[in-house]
């Protein structure tokens, strides 16, 4: 009875109290608010303001007029979507998603395999040295990597073509054969991320209770058996979480990778143009801000839908692993 009365009273005072609370909270923890201010300003300026900038996707951008450019409704989108399966946006989306699927699948496979092998190897120096070497590509810029790729594959003096010549084969013109570039790009992506990714998996494997392995060892399990019956099943949750994280970014391209390796080589664009490179070209080469903004908005909205869908499905299946 008394409890009920108290609840009623609290409800009556609730409005007043929240107002008071907010204010007293501010007074009590002024410092917190001051310390957060730079962060809030930062994200407003560099993330939230540009969100309003999606307005540019609906204008025929004119550099002399800026924000006063003519509002054209969905004209930019019509242009991008024109032609169904031959449309610009279809090609870009298809490339972006297919590349990302290849990246996600193969990265997971290679990074996990290396991590599992490193876990089972007992030669400390070998493990450390190989880890250091595999981590190397992660630290260099894509500009450097682009020069490496160029020196490997170019026609006149590329390493591969000089090897071909030395072995008596004919030279192969990589830079005018679009079909080979998806493989090269995927290989470079795996190469660059191998060290970094395997560290994450290795950390997760090291978190597995050592006594399980010891028990298996006492029971006479071989290393293969330990991998298949202990490591892999216990690694599954980590793999799923990481896969979901990457699935959420399936519409986001590795701009740095594609732009530096392919750049504006028109000959290869059909096989290698992704949304991000298209947007960058719109901005820096074609100066078609409206079209670029429209493609960017499509990417963001589609990406958000993918994330929400994935999260919804995960939440239904297993609440623990949901993103939010």
């Amino acid at each position: 009875m008394s409890e009920a009365i108290i609840t009623v009273q609290t409800n009556e005072n609730a409005k007043k109290k929240t107002k008071k609370k907010l204010f007293s909270d501010f007074r009590e923890h002024k410092t917190y608010y001051f310390m957060l201010t730079p962060m809030i300003v930062f994200f407003i300026l560099f993330s939230y303001l540009p969100m309003f900038g999606v307005y540019y996707a609906f204008v025929d951008y004119d550099f002399s007029k800026g924000i006063a450019s003519k509002f054209v409704w969905f004209k930019n989108f019509e242009f991008l979507f024109q032609g169904g399966f031959d449309s610009i946006i279809w090609k870009l989306t298809k490339n972006t998603i297919l590349y990302n699927i290849a990246f996600i699948g193969l990265n997971t496979f290679f990074q996990m395999s290396v991590a599992i092998l490193l876990r089972e190897l007992t030669y400390k120096k070998f493990v450390k040295t190989s880890q250091t070497l595999m981590f190397m590509p992660y630290f260099v810029s894509m500009v450097i990597i682009s020069s490496i790729v160029y020196n490997l594959f170019n026609y006149d003096f590329g390493v591969i073509n000089s090897a071909f010549t030395a072995m008596g084969f004919e030279k192969f013109d990589f830079y005018s054969t679009p079909a080979v570039w998806p493989f090269i790009i995927v290989a470079v992506e795996i190469w660059k991320g191998l060290g970094y990714g395997s560290v994450i998996y290795l950390a997760s494997i090291m978190g597995i209770d050592e006594s399980i392995y010891e028990a298996a060892y006492v029971d006479g399990a071989s290393k293969w058996q330990r991998i298949i019956h202990i490591t892999l099943p216990l690694l599954k949750p980590t793999v799923i979480v990481l896969l979901l994280f990457s699935l959420g970014g399936i519409m986001r391209g590795q701009f740095d990778l594609f732009w530096n390796i392919i750049g504006q080589n028109g000959f290869l664009l059909n096989a290698t143009d992704i949304i991000d490179t298209y947007v960058y070209r719109s901005l820096t080469v074609n100066f078609s801000m409206g079209l670029g903004s429209a493609a960017g908005l499509f990417q963001s909205v589609f990406g958000l839908i993918v994330i929400l869908t994935v999260n919804y499905i995960v939440k239904k299946a297993d609440k623990e692993n949901a993103l939010f």
Binding site: K21, H29, Y32, M35, M39, I40, F42, F46, Y48, L49, P50, M51, F52, G53, I67, S113, V114, L117, E120, L121, F126, S130, Q131, L133, M134, F135, M136, P137, F139, V140, S141, V143, I144, S146, Y150, N151, F157, V159, N161, S162, W191, Y196, V199, A203, M206, G220, S222, K223, N260, D276, V279, T284, M289, S293, G296, S300, G303, L304, L323, F324
Partner: protein
């Protein structure tokens, strides 16, 4: 009894053979990957020490052909000032960006980790939302140029890279792991929120600071993108990576257009020499930095 010991022995012999095969295979595979990761850098290094005319005839090899310092000499004499200036720009951007970024990231992470800060979940979502939806490159560019007027300024490279959701959450999760009693006892001694941050939390955050600092520094050092958007026409403000980016593009152009340039300069080995100069500090530094990456990445999940 005797039977049992024989069985055991056989078992252990079998295991050893299996283990040995496993080890051989594992070492082979891991070595293969390690070598594949190393090899391209050896090629660049040996190329940069090669004689240009030999490269033109034979292509690149694993070992320098007719070891020569020609490329480096030409780079230093013809591009010495340009590269020196780009070095200064990159060092400046990296230092300023990393220091300010680290300060702001740690402050944000600290406040978000405090249980007595009521709006921490809202603040976390405010940050997390930026990873779910973004305006895209062109709206960002237009805001930065027409609204913030960052064009032609190095701040255009520094500011956008200061804070990232991943780094903030990394800090928050690390601080959450610091025993609460430490903060409590400081409170009782009369320390305010900022004092707790500066004198208790920060000194305990060395590992995560090293990790986030390295992430930031690496990002700034390897950045070419910001320069390509905001500083195209400001040659004296080009960073190292962008200078190399332009060299790679322009030298190929030069080879096509003008016979003189191609004959006069060892352009191909020059590119490699410049590449080595640009990335050298990172490659020398990273074996020492690597363990901080590893320890930082094991701090744990980065859920929003």
């Amino acid at each position: 009894m005797a039977e049992l010991s024989i069985k055991k022995q056989r078992n252990s012999i079998q295991q050893d053979a299996g283990t040995r095969i496993f080890n051989v295979i594992a070492v082979t595979i891991v070595s293969f990957f390690a070598i594949v990761c190393l090899l391209p850098f050896v090629l660049v290094l040996s190329g940069s020490f090669s004689d240009e005319s030999q490269v033109a005839i034979n292509g690149y090899k694993l070992f320098p052909q007719e070891f020569s310092l020609q490329a480096y000499k030409v780079v230093f004499s013809n591009l010495g000032d340009t590269i020196g200036n780009a070095y200064l720009v990159t060092i400046y951007v990296t230092l300023v960006g990393t220091v300010i970024g680290l300060l702001l990231t740690s402050m944000s992470g600290y406040v978000l980790s405090r249980t007595d800060f009521k709006h921490r979940d809202k603040a976390a979502f405010f940050i997390y939302f930026t990873t779910l939806f973004s305006g895209g490159l062109i709206p960002s560019y237009l805001v930065n140029t027409t609204f913030l007027h960052l064009n032609h300024s190095l701040w255009a490279v520094i500011l956008p890279g200061l804070l990232g959701p991943f780094n903030i959450f990394l800090f928050r999760n690390y601080i959450k792991g610091i025993p609460h009693s430490l903060v409590e006892s400081a409170r009782i001694d009369g320390a305010g929120d900022f004092r707790v941050y500066w004198q208790i939390i920060i000194p305990l955050c060395k590992p995560v600071s090293a990790t986030v600092g390295l992430f930031l520094a690496l990002g700034y050092w390897n950045n070419w993108f910001g320069y390509s958007l905001y500083l195209i026409s400001d040659k004296d403000k080009w960073g190292l990576q962008y200078l190399l980016y332009r060299m790679l593009a322009r030298m190929t152009d030069a080879v096509k257009d003008s016979q003189i340039v191609m004959d006069a300069l060892p352009s191909e080995t020059m590119k490699l020499a410049t590449a080595m100069l640009v990335t050298g500090p990172v490659l020398l530094f990273y074996p020492f930095a690597q363990r901080y990456f590893v320890s930082g990445l094991t701090i744990g999940g980065v859920k929003g």
